[in-house]
């Protein structure tokens, strides 16, 4: 059990370093509080965002924390891949530049897997190849309209009206 954990930790650790470099353009790493007996301690996330000193996750700014957590999520997804990923408003704390970097990281991964991402940010929506518009119509409920970013029409059908 411990061997299985340490093996997973090694792989996630490596994936985290590269995902963090991609998103925060700095150095990040995972560290076990109790390496000899992993289950006796926690998991420490340390990072040196570009141009700054090494700090634990807890000391970072709101946006830096989110970006670091997203690098951790990408690492978990790389080690345990699925054909299909969903992100519900993961970019809430990010500024424009970081939202753009995240959008690009998703777009790159979406070449081989499906990503469905809910977001309020224009920067994220513009980088996708399909945007589903969701709205609430009185007396009707949720209505979904499809907007294909690359020209082809790919809207939903059913209650909201076809194609």
């Amino acid at each position: 059990k411990r061997t299985a954990f340490l093996d997973a930790f090694e792989r996630v650790s490596e994936a985290f370093q590269s995902a963090f470099a991609e998103l925060a353009r700095g150095e990040g790493r995972l560290r076990l509080e109790a390496p000899e007996d992993p289950f006796a301690g926690g998991l420490i996330i340390e990072a040196r965002p570009r141009g700054k000193k090494l700090a634990r996750l807890e000391a970072m700014s709101g946006g830096e924390k989110s970006l670091t957590a997203l690098a951790f999520i990408f690492a978990l997804q790389e080690v345990n891949p699925a054909p299909f990923f969903v992100f519900d408003e993961v970019d809430q704390s990010l500024d424009g530049v970081n939202t753009e970097v995240l959008a690009e990281a998703i777009r790159a991964r979406a070449r081989t897997r499906q990503y469905v991402v809910i977001s309020h940010h224009r920067v994220m929506l513009d980088r996708s190849s399909q945007t589903l518009g969701v709205s609430m119509r009185k007396g009707w409920g949720t209505v979904v309209t499809g907007v294909a970013m690359d020209g082809a029409e790919g809207g939903p059908d059913g209650g909201a009206g076809g194609g």
Binding site: I73, P81, A82, I118
Partner: protein
Amino acid sequence: VRVVALTLDNFKSFAKKTRIPIRPGFTTVSGPNGSGKSNLIDAMQFVLGIATSKGMRAERLTDLICIEGNKTTARVSLELEGEFEPPAGATEGATGTVRRRLEVSRVVRRVKQGGAQAHYELDGKPVRLTDLHDLMRELGFPTSGQNIVLQGDVIRLTSMGGVARRQVLDELA
């Protein structure tokens, strides 16, 4: 395997039956607060049996049935397309896999005493959740829901302690 379409019928805020094709690659979903975006994600979790009702912000399964309509049944279907091994008995020496579509559905119905009756379907026939999850694992779909990052999960991840964070890895191993 990839998702082809998600159909919601009388589920949460989706009063009318709505089939939503989802294309390969990068899809975004946007709209006003309270319009139904997260409900769409709840529908995916619901149909694949990978969340508790609480994880879909419902106190019990019957809360998932749209309260606007007079219907007592909510139904969600997920159409998948994938490459499968040729079925048993196919010609020996066939080299290719077969492209096949399959549809997973789940229905929840309100019953007289206020309780819920629910069942899963695979290609229109009832299926047990354990068998559905075996198939999902075969297709590389996590049954833990680890591929779905819910609203607030990122913030929770940043504020959870080191031990809770390590436990996330325990689940992966």
